[in-house]
Amino acid sequence: MSPISKTERLFNLLAFFLTAKHPVALDEIRKIEGYQGKSHAALRQSFYRDRKELSRLGINIECQRDERGRDVYFIPSHARYLPKINFTSEEIWALSLLSHFLSTHESYPFKDDLDLALKKIFFDVDVEMRLSDLPFIIDLSPRSAAVLNYLRFLDEALQRRKRVRFSYFSVRTGKVGIREVDPYYLFEKDGSWYLVGYCHTHNHLRTYKVGRFRGNIELVNPKEEGPDFEIPSDFNPESFHDLRPWREEEGAVEVEIWVSSKISFWVQRTLKFEEVKEVEDGTIMKLKVGDVDSFLDWVLSLGENVEIKSPPFLRKEMLKIVKEIEKSYGLAGDNTSR
């Protein structure tokens, strides 16, 4: 007789626990095909491995002590089956949109899980898609396959709270260095993915652009089962969404800018201002700036639509930059008039 496959053994194990009337001791598991004839140690090892495998698939066999002091195992009745859920036709439509946009999307990180979850949820319902009516398209594809692979790895590490080690290219220094990070949070903004985590290389919370990861990524403690860290209760993910390097920090300078009426509406949408005052041709806004250099880059990126009004030293700095640019084009910076 040929040995049964792992799938058959796991199926039998699940069937056994779904029908078990009471928690069962390890010895009773010997009745299940696939575990028969094993020594106690081999049975324990095999069962623990399979229990872990089922847990990975979302089926948790729990353990408790019985009155004889033995470990006994069971699947709680409430965790066995998904009950029938009565959805309205609108809710079914909304869920089917979720299915269409995300489970058909190759780069949706939980694609297979979503697909299976919806099959379970729609167990009692036949869903007909009305694709011609769809009001939107959501494209979650990262820019490269490499980023997608890093994201998959980070997702898993984040779920299991495992510390990761990776090589990171610092665009400021131009060097690649090793980082060990406890991954807390992943987010996409303006088409790029970022990891926020506690960096053990720098000993504080940092944001890393996933597109700057290089080479391999690995778990720091792959053999240890449990999580490597806890996320502090005061961790606030949203505070990391503002990626402007000049955002407010200690020792920040108070700056007043004029923004033309053409663009002031979206500048106000994207930045926090301490004070906003409408003037005839635009808006005067006050804000605090930490890193002055990168703030000047931002002001330049808006061209003639923005002017720094104060402090005077920043106005001087801006004039100096403009003259340096002119010089780089062979123009005499100080008194050139075009």
Partner: protein, 315 residues
Amino acid sequence: MDLREIILLVSYVNRHPGITLKELSKRFNRSVGEIRKTLELASLCGLPDYTPFDLIDVDFEGERVYVRFADYLSRPVSLSLSEALAILWGAKILAKGHFSFTRPLEKAVDKIKRAISSELAAEAERLASRREIVLDEEESIMEAINKCIEGNIAAEMEYHSLARDELTRRIVEPYTIVVQRGRCYLIAFCRLREEFRRFLVNRIRSFSPTGEKFERKPFDVEKFLTSYSPEEVEVKIYYAEPAARFVRERVSKERREDKEDGGAIVRLGYGSYKRIIREWVLPFKQHAKIISPAELREQFLTELQKIKEKYEETA
């Protein structure tokens, strides 16, 4: 098929006796051969003592399938953590579009959360909060757009064009919303330009339904998106270190020539001169230098002069 899918397949056949292999193939998105093979494997499984009455009995009658002795698989097993997470996170992302189905989707997700254990729902919720797509669009504008898309209603829109650096007022016929690479766009027929256009929602200053119903024109949004490249111009810019490092992240090797001094020459096929100046030249200060065309260089130096005049007044 993994075990979860095998279990679900057996449960489904058990629940729908006489279902055809073809129907199963469609529902599970697997070939008829795979479905048959999987069900044959299931027939080798069951409960102790594994007599013919304990093993799952799978009967194929022509194209139809029946399952017996698997009463314990008449409902799907509960959602796993990763399945619950997949639903919650997906719903969270779609909610960002402020679409009209957001409310029913939230209600459906609430029902799902109530159908699974509270610990599982809480853990899935916690994990879903650890991954985010950040979109900062104005809720009121998104809602107005969605209403117009659903009702085929034309709207008057004030829009700031990055390419022209102009704030214009125009009537649009909104067709769809596209979220792509972290940006949210409205695809609409623009009556001002008399063609389909893509608008960054964040750049829409106001969006007011006119009340006028419009007739939808034949329109293939996928085709439109793949072929959309407005007014492309080719320019050459040299970037010195350290600017070159930032630029290398954004420009593919095909459009870049890396130099021995650490700098890079980049060829951009891009929207408009104004946009190139603001996005690709000015923020890099003296580290970016326009090589060609001369017209772009002239336009850049003119803008630079205007900026200089602002600061010469009092500095």
